[in-house]
């Protein structure tokens, strides 16, 4: 029930949309969102798109992870203690 699936909007008809879930097309309600368009990714949850997925934030998270590998937590901690 907590399952949410990233899905791409294929077409929109009022509050109803066809979205692609890894290639499979299913119906979804856009009732809970404003300002979505064809091509956007949304999070599909029990038949409803509950939120738009932010591409910029997804990239930012991956950037943070890449940078994280260069940070030495022990050194940071040691420096703070000095």
């Amino acid at each position: 029930m907590c399952l949410g699936i990233p899905s791409k909007i294929i077409s929109i008809d009022g509050d109803a949309a066809i979205v692609s879930v890894g290639g499979t097309e299913v119906e979804a309600s856009l009732q809970l969102l404003n300002d979505v368009k064809v091509g956007d990714f949304v999070l599909l949850h029990t038949g409803f798109a509950i939120e738009k997925i932010s591409d910029a934030e997804a990239k930012e998270t991956l950037e943070i992870l890449k940078k994280l590998s260069y940070i030495n937590d022990d050194t940071d901690e040691a420096q703070k203690k000095q």
């Binding site: 029930m1 907590c2 399952l3 949410g4 990233p6 890894g22 119906e27 309600s29 009732q31 809970l32 969102l33 404003n34 990714f41 999070l43 949850h45 029990t46 038949g47 409803f48 509950i50 939120e51 997925i53 932010s54 591409d55 934030e57 997804a58 990239k59 930012e60 998270t61 991956l62 943070i64 992870l65 890449k66 994280l68 590998s69 937590d73 022990d74 901690e77």
Partner: protein
């Protein structure tokens, strides 16, 4: 970007596991309170990657697991009424009630249909105007939103044969009850999709009142590992706060439209949770305005006396006090194909996830 594989990258996983090991300097217990996290953590083998200082606990986050037998018994009673169609999410159907289950009633001829969404239940109501169609609404804020949206549609269409039997709940009171009960929790891995609806401020009281940090997490392996790392960093620095790891989906203010719909349709009421008992203002019942769609108010039914399961320790498992394999029924009398307790029924339940992936 498809927002899945990028967050399953093996190199990032290795790096994060290393970071977690160096950040873990004292024994801590981190709890997730979302069935999706329970499943994802076991499926990706994350417990086996943790240093011995980090203990991962599964909390009361699986909707089916926290729902009481009384609710199942009442749903069973509804299913026995002539001209009633029960519509339900698939995992609820196998939950044992006091003397029956929806599955058993279905095998005896009751009209019980598994749906993916309340929208499917509305369709069944439209197609069967002479029947009463009851949707079993369980789940937390995210699922409650879809039920609320469904109710708005039923009201708009004046679908007079559609009813909701709500057992929807909200998460923060349960998270608070666990801490108040004295259960040692050093940080919460906060639910991603609940928070997509509510935003992050529903957790503000945890760092402020209890010095317990909350990090709202996504569901892929690097999401969960990054969340654990963020919580360990808060603990090491003794700076507890609410943070969002799952920023691609969750905004601090949440989904305002969804929040409005929930407030329009539901009002808070006291509710019973397996393992925790009755928690004040933790359940969502339909507002008076929607009373004519409320199964509890509109469809009179006699419900059998609740008989609790014997020997099952689901209640303690849901509080993180015991692991599934500490139950004497686990894997013997209680398996996913023959569940005794609710935690073995849903794939999101701690026992089922541990049975399938964690052993």
């Amino acid at each position: 970007m498809e927002y899945i594989d990028e967050f399953r990258n093996a190199e990032l996983v290795k790096m994060l596991v290393g970071k977690i090991s160096s950040m873990a300097t004292k024994d801590v217990a981190l709890m997730e309170v979302c069935g999706g996290h329970t499943w994802a953590i076991q499926k990706s083998g994350i417990p086996s990657l943790m240093p011995r200082e980090v203990r991962l606990l599964s909390g009361p986050g699986c909707p089916v697991c926290v729902t009481g037998r009384k609710y199942i018994d009442q749903a069973v009673a509804y299913s026995r009424i002539k001209d009633v169609i029960i519509t339900t999410f698939g995992d609820l159907i196998r939950v044992p009630g006091s003397t029956s289950s929806l599955n058993l009633e279905k095998s005896k001829g009751a009209d019980i249909r598994i749906v993916y969404s309340i929208l499917d239940a509305l369709k069944i109501a439209r197609e069967n105007p002479s029947k009463k169609v009851i949707f079993l609404g369980i789940g937390f804020e995210a699922t409650a939103t879809s039920s609320a949206a469904g109710m708005l549609n039923a009201c708009k269409e004046n679908l007079r044969n559609f009813y909701l039997f709500s057992s929807h709940k909200i998460m923060p009171p349960a998270m608070e009850a666990l801490i108040d009960e004295g259960i040692k929790i050093n940080g919460y891995i906060a639910p991603g999709h609940v928070s997509a609806v509510t935003g992050s401020h529903i957790y503000d009281r945890f760092p402020e009142k209890y010095n317990v940090g909350c990090v709202i997490s996504g569901f892929e392996p690097t999401d969960i590992l990054q969340t654990i790392y963020m919580l360990l960093k808060q603990i090491r620095e003794e700076k507890y706060r609410v943070e969002i790891q799952y920023k691609r989906v969750v905004r601090p203010e949440g989904n305002l439209k969804a929040k409005e719909i929930i407030e329009e349709v539901f009002s808070l009421r006291d509710d019973w949770w397996r393992g925790l008992g009755v928690l004040k203002n933790s359940g969502l019942g339909l507002c008076n305005k929607y009373a004519s769609f409320d199964a509890e108010k509109m469809i009179a039914v006699e419900v059998e006396k609740t008989i609790e399961e014997k020997g099952c320790i689901c209640g303690e498992i849901l509080k993180g006090l015991k692991k599934p394999n500490e139950c004497k029924l686990f894997g013997k009398a209680c398996t996913p194909s023959n569940p005794v307790g609710s935690c073995m029924v849903s794939h999101e339940g701690a026992c089922a996830a541990y049975y399938n992936f964690g052993r």
